[in-house]
Symmetry: none
Subunit: 206 residues, 4 copies
DNA sequence: TGGTAAACGAGACGGTACGTCAGGTCTTTCA
DNA sequence: TGAAAGACCTGACGTACCGTCTCGTTTACCA
């Protein structure tokens, strides 16, 4: 009766990481926040986690995968898609979340980190997966909008998302301008013109 | 007096750079193209330029300013704004240029480099200045559009640019997706809806 | 047969070593031959023997005792003392054996290994025991010589052995010179001058 | 008139070693004495010398050459050949020196070190050179003995030295026996029989 | 024949040192 | 005398073995 256990795959010796994984993840994210990705070193993570350097190298080949694991494990990148009842409302909520991501100290560091290497090194995988995952969670939003008649059935959700997200990232991280109040609404309105939203109010009840 | 000669501001005996500046710039850009920004090292630049490391450090405090100089000196980032006679045409041309920048081997490396550090380190200055400079060159485009009545006088050009550029960068560098044919037009049409452009020609005269 | 007596001590159920002892010894000696003592690692021995590292550490505290066991188990260091009928002949045979030991690939590595640490570390025990054991086997040779009148009764056999062996080791391992033909005879003649051997044949019968 | 200097080749920027060479040599020999060759680490040398590890690696590829330099620079291995007026006296003095070398704490460590690796690794060069150099310094001793008629002109000095030195090293380092009083004389007498020394006293005056 | 104790395999771990690379600084040389 | 060269310190890299430990799994004796 040893091995049947409860069914939780994590439970037995799945050995999916070092024993001190938790502490290592914490240390990684702390140091990322303190120093940025470039100055994040495996050595420092090991020391802060109270773990030997070799232990980290045993499980992750370099700092990018390590950070990737830490990010996946923590939930800082988790996305929540609100359902406000209207396309505009959903998009404003979405854009607001993006703004928060590039503004909040804890997540902006991660966002900047994902830019590091510009999609070239291993961290790029994190970025790509993150955006892909996000996209999947966002699709229902558009499906709802189509169902409500707020959006043409052949509209390209990815394009809309990229326009919105791109504008946010562009301004905050590349132009390095503050994101003023009203910015979110401007962006959404530019992409989904208000007149389209209002043209058929009856759709909302359907 | 070494530089003798004409009126090129670089050439004056103002000691604005090391004697081997040219070779250093070349080496810098070559290595950037070969290795990317992260793996661009002052050490390697010095060696390829046939110059001692200290010579570089005397003139530039770190690799970011060095790259900045190299980029300014070369003309890879120069922008040309076309005048096609219509807002849509101008924007398509503009977006096409952006696509080329993130696609072409020589410039995409630079684009990725500008993302490095996510606007945190010294290279951010390059990015910020680049986008600011670009913006100034692009403003006349919008002025013309306003004059032609294709755009409301209070429209925000920065927003339009950010939407377009953001979408391009987003897709190419963060999502790491290929930019298909027609993408440029889709982007522009999403931001400046065709129906607005065509639906009411009389607007132009107003 | 060295161990005289009946039951091979190894064979009793006294659990004097791991089950895979044989393979471990082989691996040890192979690796010693390939890499020398310094670069002989427990890790490599374990791998080649197809045994877990801990199995080795369970039985031997470190690599020196391991090597010691391996050497004792193999017979590479076994000595055979010839009886040629004359002191000179016996010594020449003896010296020849020493020369072979420091020359032959398989044993010279062992000889070098015994020098490692210069009598300081645990391997020194091997060396000391080896030479002590050798000496005991050599003593009869001198007893015979004394009986034959070739050697004064109070002559010091250890000194003679050390002179001969020392010269061989000195030249081969420290001076790193080749041992030419005739070297053995020169050494023996220097220690047991021929004139003493031949000048008074009547001594033999006395 | 800066550079012409006195003619000492060491004096100018011959750059034959790091600036802190002196301290590095000291640290090396100290640590050798404290820990033995095996446990001598470049890391520790660097730390004790107050020098960075890389500085050492810049000048010496590994610890063996480093130790070699340190030994050459210090004079611990210097040999002095006495002239006592007789072959026996000279050899006794010589053997005494050897005994001192393998006995004295400061030099015995070096002697043991030279055995390390058994003439296989780079330290072997130290040993070989040391013995070769010694030999050259010892040759006059034999020349004098030949001139005095104490030694046949065709006698092999190397053999005599190897017999004496070998016996000393053998007993002290391999057999690990104490060198009792009288040992030196026994060794010399065994190699250069007293009767030969005394047979023709008149030679001495010639 | 079935229980049990020794031996074993698997593999993670903290640790020391390795030898290397690059970042910057400081000192010396030289034109 | 100021630019260049070169030596230097610092910090981190990623790797190899070390010797230890825990935890299940054989193996083999023997009861």
């Amino acid at each position: 009766m040893r091995g049947h256990s409860t069914g939780n795959p994590q439970e037995r010796g799945t050995s999916r990481g070092p024993r001190a994984a938790e502490r290592i993840y914490e240390a990684t994210l702390e140091l990322l926040a303190e120093r940025g990705y470039q100055d994040l070193t495996v050595e420092a993570v090991a020391e802060r986690a109270g773990v030997n350097k070799t232990t980290i190298y045993r499980w992750w080949p370099s700092k990018a995968p390590l950070l990737r694991s830490a990010l996946l494990h923590s939930r800082v990148l988790d996305v929540e898609i609100a359902d406000t009842g209207s396309l505009r409302g959903d998009l404003v909520a979405l854009a607001g979340q993006m703004v928060r991501m590039v503004s909040d100290q804890r997540t902006s560091v991660v966002a900047r980190a994902m830019l590091s290497g510009g999609g070239q090194d291993e961290l790029a995988v994190v970025a790509r997966d993150f955006f892909a995952d996000r996209l999947e969670r966002e699709r229902p939003l558009f499906a709802r909008a189509v169902a409500r008649g707020e959006l043409a059935a052949d509209a390209d959700p990815v394009l809309l998302i990229d326009l919105i997200a791109g504008a946010v990232w562009m301004r905050a991280l590349l132009r390095q301008l503050p994101l003023e109040k009203g910015f979110v609404e401007s962006v959404v309105d530019a992409v989904v013109p208000p007149r389209l939203q209002e043209s058929d109010p009856s759709n909302r009840s359907s």
